[in-house]
């Protein structure tokens, strides 16, 4: 009896943990299971199993094009965000610059502004400067959203960097450009790779900004959204399962990289 009472908090915690895991994994598992169903509608029982939906998805030109488009946008916005983010992080740790706290706060703002607000304001902004909706606008939107994550990751790494590494490079004959590319950038490397993968995932996942800023060419989330409106079918489940597996793998790799960066 005494044991049961003293064990209660622990038991409750374990129970919650399993409940949470179930809540997290069940919908995903159902979604994945349905993608193997040999029928035109999503409902139990599954009955016959098939891989036909995957074959159909892989042959779907629209899907492949949307994938390619998403990847292209992700690559472009990641490149832009990483460059900008690293630059802002360097500015924040640099000596003799005033208002570093304000720069940091501003750099982090896009991460906390609600997606909808950010999307609308960006839409108003691009129409003000007469920029057409479409690829460039989407890339701009995704870049703004991703910069804070790069800044924070780069900043964490920069702050752990011994201050005299750059001094030592300068002392040995490097000008500030050489010192940046040969010392600071390699030191930031692991954090930046982690940050970049994060940017890619944010961009691939983004719906709201893309919806407001996009043109007629659909990105992956927009395509899936359009297809869902036409009614659920196991084809969508197969599509979603593919996206899930790929992004989860990339995300886990990013986590591994940043973990390694922190321990080194």
């Amino acid at each position: 009896m005494r044991n049961m009472i003293s064990d209660a908090p622990r038991t409750t915690l374990t129970a919650f943990y399993w409940a949470f895991l179930l809540y997290l994994l069940l919908p995903l598992t159902l979604m994945m299971a349905m993608s193997f169903k040999d029928a035109n509608f999503v409902a139990f029982p599954i009955g016959d199993w098939t891989l036909d939906w995957y074959a159909k998805v892989m042959a779907d030109k629209q899907f492949l094009e949307a994938c390619l488009y998403s990847v292209m946008i992700a690559a472009a916005s990641t490149l832009a965000a990483t460059t900008l983010g690293t630059w802002i992080a360097m500015l924040i740790v640099a000596e003799g610059i005033k208002g570093q706290v304000i720069i940091f706060a501003l750099a982090c703002l896009p991460a906390v502004v609600p997606g909808m607000i950010s999307a609308i304001s960006l839409r108003i902004f691009i129409s003000t400067i007469d920029m057409p909706t479409g690829t460039a606008a989407i890339i701009l939107g995704h870049t703004v959203h991703a910069v804070p994550f790069v800044v924070v990751m780069a900043l964490t790494r920069l702050r752990s960097m011994p201050g005299n590494l750059v001094d030592a490079a300068r002392d040995l004959g490097a000008d500030s450009v050489v010192a940046f590319f040969r010392i600071t950038l390699p030191y930031l490397g692991p954090a930046l790779v982690g940050g970049m993968i994060f940017c890619v995932l944010l961009s691939i996942d983004d719906f709201v900004r893309t919806f407001f800023l996009g043109g007629y060419r659909p990105t992956l989330p927009m395509l899936i959204f359009a297809k869902v409106q036409g009614g659920m079918s196991p084809e969508i489940n197969a599509m979603a399962t593919l996206v899930l597996v790929v992004t989860a793998a990339v995300g886990l790799y990013a986590e591994y990289l940043t973990r390694r960066a922190r321990t080194r």
Partner: protein
């Protein structure tokens, strides 16, 4: 011969705080010179100014006769060994050492040969491919030293490079540093707050205090003939006897210390009766005995404290009301000093005198 480094009336201040004040210093080529002083005395600032990381407010710094006061660090031919080594963590030992050579634009073959030559000098040939994180403290220290020596600087600057090492390793590195300096014939400018390090390695010690040079000279002179109370206290342990001159006789002076008359060498001063002087009496110059010594200064006293230190015993002897003398006693002589009352004695020529700057004569 032209000095390799010259500080010409250099002043550096941060806001109201003056770190270095009107520093004039010439350093001869091929010497091991140490800037010694407590933290905040301006020694590191001086080193960083010579390295190019700080710009003086006024004055000039000359390197090999050329004015480098405003030349950036990458354009001047000096290299620093940093306190925490600052090895590039993502580069191997060999890459670290090669860094300065690559930036000089040397060809690969030349770089390779030079790196191997330097690794051999400190017996680290087998570690060329290791990362700094895989080395011990002493090994990192050696790599940092070789990296700084690689581009063949006119002067090698060392900013307290031994302070991160444990005591045993530090002593070993002191000897190694000195031997590398002798082998390479380079001018070393070493900064430390550790007087023992300074005494062990230096050809010349520059004692600094509050941004100014307090005294400069070879270790022997600074230890044996300190020019100020600060230097006497900072270098080694010492008994400082504040005394009044009662008379002079040839080159010795008779003084009154706490009612006791003692004799001391004049040490280049020409003291007059009534002057206040400090007599610098090193603990090892004092001879303790059970019997009264036959010559020299001798005082009867009571042993108040004995501290066993292994290779010697340190005695605190009260020789007058509250006036204490610290003496070192050799292990062989301790046995005969078991009583409370002993005699302390010393030869007048083993002491030196310092004027009391604060006294009103």
């Amino acid at each position: 011969m032209q000095p390799v480094v010259q500080f010409d009336n250099v002043t550096k201040s941060y806001g109201k705080h003056v770190a270095v004040e009107n520093l004039n210093l010439s350093i001869e080529a091929g010497k091991f010179v140490t800037l010694l002083g407590p933290s905040g005395c301006g020694k590191s600032t001086s080193l960083r100014m010579l390295g190019g990381f700080e710009t003086p407010n006024s004055g000039h710094i000359l390197l090999g006769g050329k004015d480098v006061t405003r030349v950036p660090p990458n354009k001047r031919n000096v290299n620093i060994v940093f306190q925490d080594y600052a090895l590039f963590p993502h580069m191997s030992v060999a890459k670290n050492i090669a860094f300065g050579l690559e930036l000089k634009g040397l060809d690969n073959q030349h770089i390779h040969r030079r790196v191997n030559e330097l690794l051999e000098l400190v017996q680290l040939q087998d570690y060329a491919k290791r990362l700094p994180a895989e080395l011990s403290g002493g090994q990192r220290q050696r790599v940092a030293l070789m990296r700084a020596l690689a581009p063949d600087p006119e002067v090698l600057l060392l900013d307290e490079p031994l302070s991160a090492l444990d005591a045993k390793l530090r002593q070993q590195m002191q000897i190694e540093l000195k031997s590398i300096q002798e082998k390479t014939g380079k001018t070393f400018m070493f900064v430390t707050h550790d007087q023992e390090e300074a005494l062990t390695m230096s050809d010349t010690i520059v004692v600094m205090n509050k941004g100014k040079i307090e005294q400069m000279g070879d270790p022997n002179t600074l230890y044996g003939r300190p020019g100020s109370v600060f230097v006497a206290n900072f270098i080694g342990e010492t008994n400082l006897l504040r005394s009044t001159v009662v008379g002079t006789e040839g080159d010795t002076t008779a003084l009154n210390w706490n009612g006791i008359t003692i004799k001391a060498a004049q040490g280049g001063l020409a003291p007059k009766t009534g002057d206040h002087l400090y007599v610098v009496l090193r603990p090892e110059a004092i001879h303790c005995s059970a019997e009264e010594p036959t010559s020299g200064n001798r005082i009867k006293g009571k042993v108040r404290q004995r501290v066993f230190k292994g290779n010697h015993t340190s005695l605190s002897v009260e020789v007058a009301d509250g006036a204490m003398l610290n003496a070192l006693v050799h292990p062989a002589d301790v046995a005969q000093l078991n009583g409370e009352e002993i005699w302390v004695g010393w030869k007048p020529e083993t002491t030196t005198v310092i004027p009391d700057r604060h006294a009103h004569n």
